[in-house]
Amino acid sequence: MLSLEGVSVRYGGLSALTDVSLSVGEGEFVTVIGPNGAGKTTLMKAISGVVPLSAGRIRLGGQDLAAVPAQRRPHLGLAHVPENRQVFSGLSVLENLELGTTPLADRAQSAGNIEHVLDLFPILRERTAQLAGTLSGGQQQMLAIGRALASTPKVLLLDEPSMGLAPSIVDMIFERIARIHRETGVTVVLVEQRAIEALELCTRAYVLTTGRVVASGSGRDLMRSEEVSRAYLGA
């Protein structure tokens, strides 16, 4: 469904990603874990097309994305839940969700998708008229996820949905993500610093350290592996 071959990204003279290759099959739940500064967010931005590649190629459903600008990628079924949520803070909750349906041409489908999101996150239904910037962090995260789901994506990119949230909220968010994957069959790429929870959720995982993939395998295997301990514990 989604594949990266030898992807490198440079910011000025700094190398953020070096020769990253990974593949995600249809309906898979793939996690990328790694410490701070490993290049996880850059990886997501490269897939979304908001940072340019210095080398390599990215394919979505067999199509090379090199010629597809960032704002056209959602129309191909790519939805990005960005780091720090990035909700439209001056717009209402409902407007945020409506914006999520931008890639869809069918209004009836858009309305149906929004209903579905509001069923998934009932707290948002109570607050449809509220400005998104006034929501709590957890609610903003639900909104960011809901906004991405509203486009019926084929691939859902989740960039650190746990960031800055209380543990109980994180558990709830992870539970919803698992449910979304189970019920809709959407392909999920989750980038997380919280390795243990993220590895439990996924079918496969990659470990990213200083811009390189240093390990990959099933979540269970990685949890026991030495590289993971090294990446996280510095051992």
């Binding site: 960005p82 990035q86 803070s89 001056g90 409506e98």
Partner: protein, 319 residues
């Protein structure tokens, strides 16, 4: 003693004129505020856009002779309605050929992009005003429509001793301004396009993730801002003689109104413009006419001291 106080008639007359002029200012401010609010771009060429609108009005009414063939009022309405699409396209082209290109320079940060765009609008302003000087000359001209010297007469007390005169040209301009500002409000808040424009302003990165072409949004915004300013120009031209540098008479008012209403609050800009109009006119009741401009600045400074975020602005900056 009573001679020193302005009469009721004078107060009402000034209030009415202030409101009428203020509505027209409001439209100019809305156009400037739209460009700033959505693109975060300070447009130095705003006054020249207004000037072009005025000459467009002249071209339609006198140049094309529509004023004589279909009558001045239909010709004026036609000129106002035509100004919006004509200058929308011109704004679109200016953005595509100049502003977007300079912003997309390789490696430019967002801040640098805004600075280069700001300087670019200054350049556009110089080219437009001097180009107009070459094309139209420096002699002031006016539209010479009959309703500029006619007035609706109100009798607010019903007794016939207090009469308020509303200049017909100013009433028309105010009505057009209210309609255009209302239309813009509906566009921004009731349509998919408006929602996309607001999303592009609120969080350009997230808007891109939603599949919105943010540069396209800015282009539409710049075109709309140009079109609305040109409409204001057509309407003002009916009662204000103009020459290629006429924009300077209005830019101060526009900036003051936008800051007054709160930078980034598009509809706040309208009320900012109305307040400027009222202050300007009401000041003539107690101060000599020459100090009209000064009072605008005094009120402007007071507001900045007391409420720096503007009357309708939010103090929370965007992230």
């Amino acid at each position: 003693m009573t001679d020193l106080l302005p009469s009721l008639e004078t107060v009402l007359q000034t209030l009415a004129t202030g409101l009428l002029v203020g509505c027209t200012y409001g439209l100019m401010c809305v156009a400037l505020g739209l460009i700033f609010g959505i693109m975060r771009l300070i447009n130095f060429a705003q006054g020249d856009f207004l000037m072009l609108g005025m000459y467009f009005g002249l071209a339609v009414l006198s140049g094309a002779g529509l004023g004589a063939t279909i009558g001045p009022l239909p010709a004026l309405i036609f000129a106002g309605l035509a100004a919006i699409p004509v200058f929308f396209v011109l704004g679109w082209v200016i953005h595509a050929l100049l502003l977007a290109r300079i912003a997309q320079r390789r490696g430019a940060t967002e801040g640098e992009a805004h600075q280069t765009q700001l300087i670019m609008t200054l350049g556009i302003s110089l080219v437009l005003s001097n180009g107009a000087l070459m094309a139209f000359g420096s002699t002031p001209v006016s539209l010479n429509v009959p309703f500029a010297s006619q007035a609706f007469i109100l009798d607010p007390l019903g007794a016939g001793d207090v009469l308020v005169f509303l200049n017909e040209a100013r009433v028309l301009a105010a009505v057009a301004a209210l309609a255009a500002a209302g239309g813009l409000y509906a566009l921004l808040h009731r349509t998919d396009l408006g929602r996309q424009l607001r999303a592009s302003a609120d969080n350009p990165l997230a808007a891109t993730y939603m599949g919105i072409d943010v540069v396209w949004s800015y282009r539409v915004t710049f075109g709309l801002g140009f079109g609305l300013t040109a409409l204001a120009g057509v309407m003002v031209a009916t009662y204000y003689p103009f020459q290629p540098y006429v924009g300077l008479d209005f830019v101060i008012v526009m900036y003051a109104g936008v800051v007054l209403g709160g930078l980034g609050s598009v509809m706040g800009s309208f009320w900012g413009g109305v307040i400027i109009g009222l202050v300007q006119q009401l000041s003539t009741l107690v101060l000599p006419l020459q100090l009209q401009g000064t009072t605008v600045f005094v009120v402007f400074l007071l507001i900045l001291l007391i409420r720096p975020q503007g009357l309708f602005g939010r103090s929370v900056e965007r992230a």
